[in-house]
Amino acid sequence: MAGSTFPKGGIHPEEHKELTEHLAIEQMPVPDQVVLPLSMHFGAPAKPVVKKKQEVQEGDVIATVEKALGATIHSSVSGTVKAIETRPHPTMVRCDAVIIDRDPSAAPRQYESDDWRKLTREQLLARVKDAGIVGLGGAGFPTHVKLSPPPSAKIDTLILNGAECEPYLTTDHRIMLELPEKVVEGTKILLKILGIKQAVIGIELNKPDAINVMSKVAQQSSGSDDLGVRVQGMQVKYPQGSEKQLIFSLTNRAVPGGGLPFDVGVIVQNISTTLAVFEAATMQKPLYEKVVTFSGRAIKRQANLQVKVGTVLSDVVNYLGGTEDLLKIVSGGPMMGFAMSTLDVPITKTTSGVLFLNSQETNVDPHGPCINCGWCIKACPMGLAPKEIGIYVEAGKGHLTEKFGVFDCFECGCCAYVCPAKRPMVQFARLAKIAIKKHG
């Protein structure tokens, strides 16, 4: 199988997936305290509906977003609200959070399943909304909003993103291997909500076991209804899992600059999100735990852990035996993730992995000037000239870079990866976007 791919740019970073790809998903013991940030989604921060010292049960709503774009937040443990105060946040640096002390005597909450096929589209969509599900690939866009495209959009295809093209990360891989029935069933729930018939699950060819299992399960379930789910292998190339590249790879449709997938009739969902949709639609279980890859060579034991949202990193590090020669902590993958300055950061709904990198795996050398080699231009999957953006930003003229298409940049980091001068290209692009917005 040759595998489909996107038309330009892209890189082949070392995968490092061997550290965790063969490790089964493992349940991490519930921590004594969770920190639940009020911003774990794209949109307005949620407003707390609980008070200090109030008792809450696992799965109870603790914060909601009423009118604006956002998602409901649920308690991931049973216990008492200790405080509502500012805490470190993986991408926002600091953010208000609800802190809950666990009641050690409380038993884990049980959920009963019913038959989702008897529910209407509206009922299913309401369950997704009530569960507080957001896109778990990293952007955190509220899923119930994504599943309600404007009537003008003619959606015909659902795409499931099983590329997992970021090095190190193996959560979607393990979920597809261990819970393929739930993923396929979740896909069908999504199809019913969208009122369409066909879904494609795109998986990179470096996960042949997942391609096998998912194809088999998709085939077995195909007789039961008229909803078609098929699996397609894709070339191993970063950023195969980026939305626009993925859509092109699987459908040959190019999303225009500034456009959204529904402009070309497509909706994309992440594997973990689909699993959450399955649990919400069949058991009305809110999203408050998820599978996260903890990897990198600086942590004693690597693992794919099912953790409660709100678990702070220091608890995970203790559970995994501590660190050695730790140089950098990254929330997310090494290409697009954010560096952390403290272990007090909690796992949020959108955390797909946390990497503990040692001095062999990362470097903190200073960067040099641009020598115009043009390698970033060759690597850019959007066909931009990243070097120009960097030079403009360094010269204090970041606000003039819109004509270079800086808003097409989704910060995949290919340019920074190939740069021989180790220039922080992604940071330059972020600064350019901020400068343009500031300039009005």
């Binding site: 020598i371 115009n372 808003f407």
Partner: protein, 322 residues
């Protein structure tokens, strides 16, 4: 950049065989003075000293490779000041220079010391006649020759074949590098090998060298002879600094464009200007000036040839205000 320097070692070794140790010594003086000028000017300008990146060393080697082997030892030091201090550090340092530093060095020396730069040639050592002492003192007293392009320009093709042998001998000697010329530019074979090595390593692509050399070949065939379409393309391709210029100077990242189409236009420009100077200009050789002139166009070529976007924008972006 140390890799690029390493790929020039074979050409350096051949130069020792052809011109004696003097070529090596001039090259060392040039390299060390470029590194020293960079370190001193960076210190003076309050910048971090970046001599270890190999950029100044490479400039020094390339500058020596395009000056005659018989020049006095202090000459490259003057060139280094022009190449590194004026052209590079005063422009803002690595990445901000408009012109190729090695060629700026050569251009300044050509303008300021034309006698040395156009007459300090050494004939290739004839190993069947010479003793080892000639090899060691190589060239100190042997400055009575002319480069093939000088002969071709002043006396025509018949005088050229009289001095350098019939055309097949010329092709063979020139291809290997047995001819008078600048220190490192004589051997097409070894420069080609170095260029291929850089292509395999992904340091350069074929676009600039091939378009440059092809343009010189085609134009010299059309315009280089007594009548139209009677020129000798191989004589022009194998003579002077064309091979070195096409593979090592015109491909300099900082001063050449990044897009393939722009690189081909750049190469055609270098080739056409080279031949214009060689056939109609006052100098017998024009590779250095051609590249420097095309360097001026690089920013515009970057502007005219944009990379192809993944998809066009939904609406045209609002024009950025200047």
């Amino acid at each position: 950049m140390w890799t690029v320097s390493a790929s020039l070692i074979p050409a350096m070794l051949l130069s020792i065989y052809v011109f004696g140790l003097r070529g090596l010594l001039i090259t060392l003086v040039s390299m060390i003075s470029c590194m020293a000028v960079e370190a001193i000017s960076q210190k003076a300008l309050g910048r971090p000293v970046s001599v270890s990146d190999g950029s100044a060393a490479l400039t020094g080697i390339l500058m020596a490779f395009v000056i005659p082997p018989g020049v006095p030892y202090w000459l490259p030091i003057v060139g280094a000041v022009a190449a590194i201090f004026i052209n590079k550090e005063l422009m803002g340092g690595l990445g901000f220079n408009i012109w190729n530093p090695a060629l700026v060095g050569r251009a300044l020396l050509m303008a300021a010391f034309p006698v040395y730069m156009t007459a300090a040639w050494i004939p290739p050592i004839d190993w069947s006649k010479s003793a080892v002492d000639v090899y060691i003192s190589g060239g100190l007293d042997a400055v009575s020759t002319a480069t093939p392009l000088q002969v071709l320009k002043q006396y025509g093709l018949s005088a050229f074949t009289q001095q350098f042998g019939n055309l097949s001998t010329v092709y063979q000697n020139f291809f290997i590098g047995i001819k008078p010329g600048c220190i490192g530019e004589t051997s097409a074979l070894l420069i080609l090998a170095g260029g291929l090595f850089m292509m395999i390593r992904g340091i350069i692509t074929w676009h600039i060298p091939v378009s440059t050399i092809a343009t010189v070949a085609v134009l010299s065939w059309i315009f280089g002879g007594e009548t139209w379409f009677s020129g000798q393309p191989l004589v022009h391709v194998l003579s002077g600094g064309l091979m070195l210029g096409a593979f090592y100077m015109a491909t300099d990242y900082v001063t050449s464009p990044t897009q393939k189409a722009a690189q081909i236009v750049f190469g055609i420009g270098v080739g056409a200007l080279t031949l214009l100077i060689r056939l109609k200009g006052g100098y017998p050789e024009g590779v250095a000036y051609s590249i420097l002139l095309m360097n001026c166009l690089t920013p515009s070529l970057e502007e005219w040839f944009r990379p192809k976007r993944f998809a066009l924008p939904k609406q045209a972006p609002v024009a950025a205000t200047k």
